[in-house]
């Protein structure tokens, strides 16, 4: 006879920088320098990962895993699935670092794009998951999230970027913000949004385009 015991909930912790490593997001004087150093450091990590450098892999993980997990969870609405997506994404980075093309953008955008794509794909593939995500998405905006995690945000050193992104989203006309959130955080296609909002597809497309143009302008120059 084998008896089981319920496990206690695992304690959470924040990713910790290694000794001598600058904490994620910590800035140095001179914004432009920070921009260059940030992108350069991420690219260097990916280059080292391609050489099988485990510490570089850990560095990239510590820098972005918490954000990746939050994004995935926001879309799939289940923590363990979000963790699975994070795992698959980072394993993909380890196994295929050559997938990063510097000419197509930053490491950060590449990484978050992979997380987002996997999360959206999962939501669309599974009917039950889709219903759960759509139900949750219908109820809230990402801007209405309670900021209970501010201490976490502070610790990761990303408050400025987060504030800037949320501010930019908040400054969009509501109808543009709505379609972008439904698409990005809800995992809906444009036609699905048109159906849900009873709007012509062309209207959804134009609102998406106008909103993204505004965001592009507002977020230009915002970097970690």
């Amino acid at each position: 006879m084998f008896h089981t015991t319920l496990l206690p909930a695992p304690e959470s912790r924040m990713p910790e920088p290694r000794a001598g490593e600058r904490p994620p997001g910590e800035r140095q004087p001179g914004a432009q320098v920070v921009v260059d150093l940030t992108g350069s450091r991420d690219r260097d990590l990916v280059t080292r990962i391609a050489d099988g450098d485990e510490e570089a892999f850990r560095g990239l993980f510590r820098r972005y895993a918490a954000n990746a997990s939050a994004l995935a969870k926001r879309i799939v609405r289940q923590p363990f699935l979000a963790e699975e997506i994070v795992q698959e994404t980072f394993l993909a980075v380890w196994r295929h670092p050559e997938g990063y093309d510097e000419e197509r953008g930053t490491v950060k955008a590449w990484l978050m794009g992979m997380v987002h794509h996997r999360a959206v794909d999962l939501v669309r593939r599974e009917e039950s998951q889709r219903r759960r995500a759509e139900s949750a998405q219908a109820q809230d905006s990402v801007l209405e999230d309670a900021d209970v995690a501010e201490s976490v945000v502070e610790e990761l050193g990303v408050p400025e970027e987060r504030k800037a992104v949320r501010a930019a989203l908040g400054e969009l006309p509501p109808e543009q913000q709505q379609v972008i959130e439904l698409m990005y955080f809800g995992g809906l296609t444009q036609s699905a949004i048109a159906e849900r909002l009873s709007l012509p597809l062309g209207t959804v497309k134009s609102r998406t385009l106008l909103g993204m143009r505004r965001l592009r302008t507002a977020l230009a120059g915002i970097e970690r």
Binding site: H3, P15, E54, E83, T106, A109, G113, A149, F185, Q190
Partner: protein, 187 residues
């Protein structure tokens, strides 16, 4: 040409947000093929909107991760930890993810042949037989188990005063088992 890029921009935006419809995806591919892979404007639009989409990810507050997650993923990446694939080796999905998981990522795979009876929450599996005397160690806590086609997989963790050993997965052959649930996840 400018008009062409307005259409392409509209489609690139939708794709950057992963919200493009399949028909529009095909249209975008067609349009971009017509412009050629070297079209600087197309590449600029793709790069810029990918960046915008990437930044949107940071609108969500980052969350603390499980303490062991980093080591687990590094272990999987470097091959020091094997990945438990669900029966049939299906591609990752919600079902697959649920089967593989016990509240964390996939656990070290340890093939242990054993004989024991599992009794959880009033659900009895029955006698499970195999050809070896190895057993789940005393003090182990089962975090998940699943059964299919006469096989039972049990994930468990070992606890001691100072250490929590990462979860271990054991496979058992099971004879004459009652119908088992696809997954029991206890933690």
């Amino acid at each position: 040409m400018m008009r062409d890029h307005e259409l392409i921009e509209e489609l690139i935006v939708a794709r950057a947000l992963d919200g493009i419809d399949p028909a529009d995806e095909r249209t975008l591919e067609h349009e971009q093929a017509a412009h050629g892979a070297d079209c600087l404007e197309c590449r600029r639009l793709e790069r810029e909107y990918a960046e915008v989409a990437g930044k949107l990810a940071f609108a969500v507050a980052p969350e603390a991760l499980r303490p062991e997650l980093e080591d687990e993923i590094v272990g999987l990446a470097t091959g020091s930890v094997a990945r438990l694939e669900p029966p049939g080796g299906r591609e990752p999905s919600i079902d697959g993810a649920q089967r593989r998981r016990g509240g964390g990522v996939l656990r070290p795979l340890v093939a242990i042949a054993a004989a024991f009876v599992l009794f959880v929450g009033g659900w009895a599996v029955g006698s499970l037989t195999s050809g070896d005397d190895a057993t789940v160690p005393p003090g182990a806590r089962v975090v998940a188990f699943e059964g299919a086609n006469g096989k039972l997989a049990v994930a468990y963790r070992l606890y001691s005063a100072q250490n929590i050993v990462p979860s271990v997965l054991a496979h058992f052959d099971a004879n004459n088992t009652a119908p088992m649930p696809v997954l029991y996840r206890l933690a």
